[in-house]
Amino acid sequence: MRTRTALVAAATAIAALTAGCSSGDGGDGGKAGEPVSLKFLSLAWQKESVAANKEIVDEWNKANPDIKVEYIQGSWDNVNDQLVTSFEAGDPPDVIHDDSPALAGFASRGYLLDLSGKLPADLKSDIPQAAWDTVTFGDGKGGQGVYGVPFLQESQVIIANRKLLDKAGVPVPTPEDPWTWDEFEEISKKLTKGDTFGVAWPLKTPVNKVLNLALNFGGTFFQTDGTKATVKVGPEEREVMQRVHDQLYKDKTADPSALGMGTADPLPGFYAGKYAMLPASVYLRQQVVEQAPPGFEWVTIPPLKGTSADQGAASQTLSVAADSKHPDQATKFISFFLNSTNQAKLAKGDWLLPTSVKAASDPSMTTEENGWNVATASAKNLVVAPYLKVNGFDEWKSKVATPALQQYFANKITLDEAAKTLVDEGNKVLERYNK
């Protein structure tokens, strides 16, 4: 008897404790006019970008004493795990900085708030539809929704050594008349001399790069039949893979030792003249500006053209958690944070492209200095990447595509073998998500 009483007492105590916790959590919600506080998880990491983020948050806090925003520093390395656990625990940050590939999964699991109809008209019209497409996903229950505001996009350009181009008599192309892949291969051959390779392909994480560039030849890698997605590797998809492989092993114009490198790793060799051209994302310009030795001349070359110059685009986004207790205030904060003036600041801080049309026409975004004009012009080639809409893409990427592409570019398997793995193993992975 006494045991049971004790057990009951203990259980009551624990119940009271947990109830106390949860009511403490919800305590600050409620009536309009009362000051509320929002948690803002930011993933900015470059110094200038963190400074720009904090500056905008301070500005907001000064203008809106009723809606206090707390800046929380996150990291791209572990944001997925951090968000999944906080979503499951029911206490996520109110405003979440992430990118569109991640949003697809979160949206279909119901973690994010559908923002359609909640955003002010001037913000909606300032961002082109192509960018909104990168954040429009199924809600997992048959509907569609807008699960974030896209604000920064990246495109793939080529950063080149000016002196080596001049010496070989290669003129710098304009965004209106870019190089085709064939021209690029010819020029790589011209630039390969002695110890210098024409190009370095850093392909440590090859998947997104290959998939984004594959659209140059119309390669989508996925086909959707209703709601069911399957992998496809046909002639269009193989084009870019084959061409990069040829540069490595047939033309020998690409340095094979750069293969295992991450995006920024070839920079020391690039400054030393080991490679003349470096295909890279626009943000790499920042590191070149900061680290290049004095007297080093470089130039940004517009994206290459296959059958088109289209590139797959993903965007960085701000979203509101479905569990947020102050969704309206959070949406208001996002609308302020991403107005065109602030977007120009953020884009400059991260050396990426703003989605806002007004921000893109800002003089600082169109200057020839540091290739900003070329970078900003490349935004017109961005189309929504097909893989964004594929449920299970993340697992396909890490379990199937990354090893398969790494082995293909290391010349350990043939293109046919790589294609077969991507399709067969890939469809097995996707099947789990199609159930």
Binding site: T3, T85, R109, G110, G392, E395, K399
Partner: protein, 310 residues
């Protein structure tokens, strides 16, 4: 706790019969309650919940509906090539780390057992890896293995053993051995300490008797030290095996299971399934499967050792 309870209960029962016994039993239970509640809430509860999850299709998400699926997760697991690859890597890792760690630790323990100068100091020094959290060890070794700035590459090149930088943790064939070396280094202190304690329990007279009979050092080690150490060896190697196969933090920091899954230990695999892809039910199945495997391996190993002893 149970032992003392048993001991106090039995004589009382003998003397006064049943009713007294059950009342005392109830009192014991009541006294144990404060200690029992946290164990039930924080250990037994989650464990049972984990086992329950293994039989459901639980997924992450606010709009996911969990239903009971019986053994289908286990069926999927048996046909999952990625699981078997990860399981194979887990076994290679656990067996090689445990064995090599044991050999290295035994050597170190024998050395520290000798009457050397600065013995106290070296004994403390041998404990250093134990004082570090796995995440710090992982970060430190990542710097050691760094392809361009790492001390390992520059040392090997300085000694003329290597002519180009090796990316230790990203090379398909070197990554696993490189991680195993870190595993051995990390676990050596506790193995060394336990073996050292065992060595000090070996009676000196046995060695003296062997010496008098003219046995060589090697012979004395083989026929006296090792058999005397046997219970200690069985204990520490089986504990090491369990620790190693369940290792997570160290490898997560070092490689996150890469490159291309070459160092994806079973626990990393389960973690990815749960927190990256959101298949909680399947990940729980993996956990249960590993528990079964560990119990089976230990049962066989310890059972055989016990039989040999008796």
């Amino acid at each position: 706790m149970t032992l003392t309870a048993e001991r106090t209960r039995e004589p009382a029962a003998d003397r006064r019969g049943r009713p007294k016994k059950s009342r005392q039993g109830r009192e014991t239970l009541l006294l144990m309650l404060p200690a029992l509640i946290p164990v039930l809430i924080f250990s037994v509860g989650p464990l049972l919940y984990g086992i329950y999850l293994a039989f459901t299709d639980a997924r992450s998400g606010r709009n996911s509906v969990t239903s009971f699926v019986g053994l289908s997760n286990f069926g999927d697991l048996l046909t999952d090539g990625d699981f078997w690859a990860s399981f194979r890597i887990g076994l290679i890792w656990a067996v090689s780390v445990t064995v090599l760690q044991f050999v290295a630790a035994l050597g170190l323990a024998l050395l520290l057992n000798e009457n050397l100068r600065f013995r106290a100091f070296t004994r403390v020094l041998a404990m250093v890896p134990w004082a570090m959290p796995p995440v710090v060890i992982g970060l430190m070794w990542r710097l050691v293995y760094h392809p361009n700035a790492g001390i390992l590459n520059s040392t090997l090149q300085g000694a003329g053993l290597l002519d180009h930088n090796v990316d230790w943790l990203n090379d398909f064939s070197i990554a696993l051995p490189a991680v195993i070396v870190v595993g051995i280094w990390t676990g050596m202190p506790q193995t060394t300490v336990v073996l050292l304690a065992g060595l000090q329990g070996v009676p000196r007279e046995l060695h003296e008797a062997g010496h008098v009979d003219g046995a060589t050092t090697w012979r004395r080690f083989w026929s006296i030290t090792l058999p005397q150490l046997r219970p200690v060896i069985v204990t520490i190697t089986s504990l090491d095996f369990v620790w190693n196969i369940n290792q997570f933090g160290l490898v997560y920091v070092l490689t996150q299971g890469g490159p291309g899954g070459q160092t994806r230990l079973p626990m990393l695999f389960a973690y990815e399934e749960a927190f990256r892809y959101g298949f909680f039910g399947y990940a729980a199945t993996l956990g249960v499967a590993i528990v079964i495997v560990v119990l089976a391996v230990l049962g066989l190993y310890i059972g055989r050792q016990m039989r040999e002893v008796s």
